[in-house]
Symmetry: C2
Subunit: 213 residues, 2 copies
């Protein structure tokens, strides 16, 4: 679900005061949702709890979102957009300089930075942990939070196939996992440290394989 769709609908002739009020409520609701899921975990986070902490009525939340999962995922998307805006006017696309290795290394270094950002870490972990035991939520997290980046990886890999830099028989949906899954597992399961050097190495191994050439 794109963020725009379930944000408060703009009235046809917006009354400045009520728009400001809506925007303020929306932000208070996002902040409350993110802080609650970190403090008490996903199962104990409720619409009632979010409303109480945000200082709004339950009905205000139900007017804009259908479930706590929806509120949380949009709060999380909003956090990502905030950080993108702070980083400058960078459009969210995958770089294509013609050098696949350099492009993927750059994207993975940005992912390393994001995984280490304390604002992201706690809510990301709380949502990811619940997704492990709650398949429906897990699938929603994939569809809403991960799929857009997976699509960009696939598009970049297809361009590399067209340019003769990746074998034509390789399935881009599987190939992208060599870039994202080792990093994801180290982060999720604490199986190893995360660094630029590590993700650079992943890219080199993935492109050239482990066997002698």
């Amino acid at each position: 679900m794109p963020v725009q769709r379930s944000a408060p609908p703009a009235p046809s002739k917006p009354a400045p005061d009520s728009t400001r009020r809506s925007e303020k409520s929306r932000r208070a609701i996002y902040d409350a949702a993110l802080s609650l899921v970190v403090e008490v975990g996903y199962p104990k986070t409720t619409i009632e709890g979010i409303a109480a902490r945000a200082g709004v009525g339950k009905q205000t939340i139900y007017r804009w979102w259908s479930s706590k999962a929806d509120v949380l995922m949009e709060a999380f998307l909003d956090l990502g957009e905030q950080s993108l805006r702070e980083a400058g006017p960078v459009p969210y696309t995958f770089p294509d300089t013609g050098d696949l290795a350099a492009d993927v290394k750059g994207v993975l270094r940005a992912t390393v930075d994001q995984l280490r950002d304390p604002r992201f870490e706690a809510p990301s972990r709380a949502l990811a942990a619940e997704g492990v035991v709650n398949e429906q939520l897990g699938r929603e997290l994939v569809a809403k939070l991960m799929q857009p980046s997976l699509d960009l990886y696939m598009e970049r890999l297809r361009a590399a196939q067209d340019a003769g830099q990746v074998r034509p028989d390789v399935d881009p949906r599987i190939a992208l996992e060599f870039f994202i899954s080792p990093l994801a597992q180290r982060w999720l399961q604490h199986t190893g440290p995360i660094s630029y050097e590590y993700t650079d190495t992943l890219v080199d191994y993935a492109l050239h394989g482990l066997a002698p050439r």
Copy 2:
């Protein structure tokens, strides 16, 4: 911690009745721990709850284990050993037929079977989910439950390097992640289906790389 070390210590001259009683208690405690963590989650699973469900005193548990994390990890290791025994007298080593691809494919197919075994799935997910938000537990899970297999992968990859099948400059600790991390992420985060065909493909891509040769 090896399972044997914290199992009930065998008396120097075992009295058959008390040994049987201990073994029966140990099994009841394992079953109680695994079923509780699935039903109420890791944070609400307590030594008291495990004792009550197992029909033993709290002190019986504290005599053998120092924490609920210890009980759960050993219960889980025991489950793995049970399933190995059922599969026949297979020693837990990594096959080395000289064909690295075939050997890794075989091990990954067995992992696919285990990830799909309903006896494993619920407790594995409950422990893994808690490890995502609880770094100390996460690190214990890695050290006690995952490290033994990671070591076997590393040993097999080093043998392949000696045999000239893997480049000598490749770090086996990173290389093994191409085999285990994509599968782990699909399973943990519900990012895609798991099958023998999928893991076979991972092995081929990892060994030969994505770039044209």
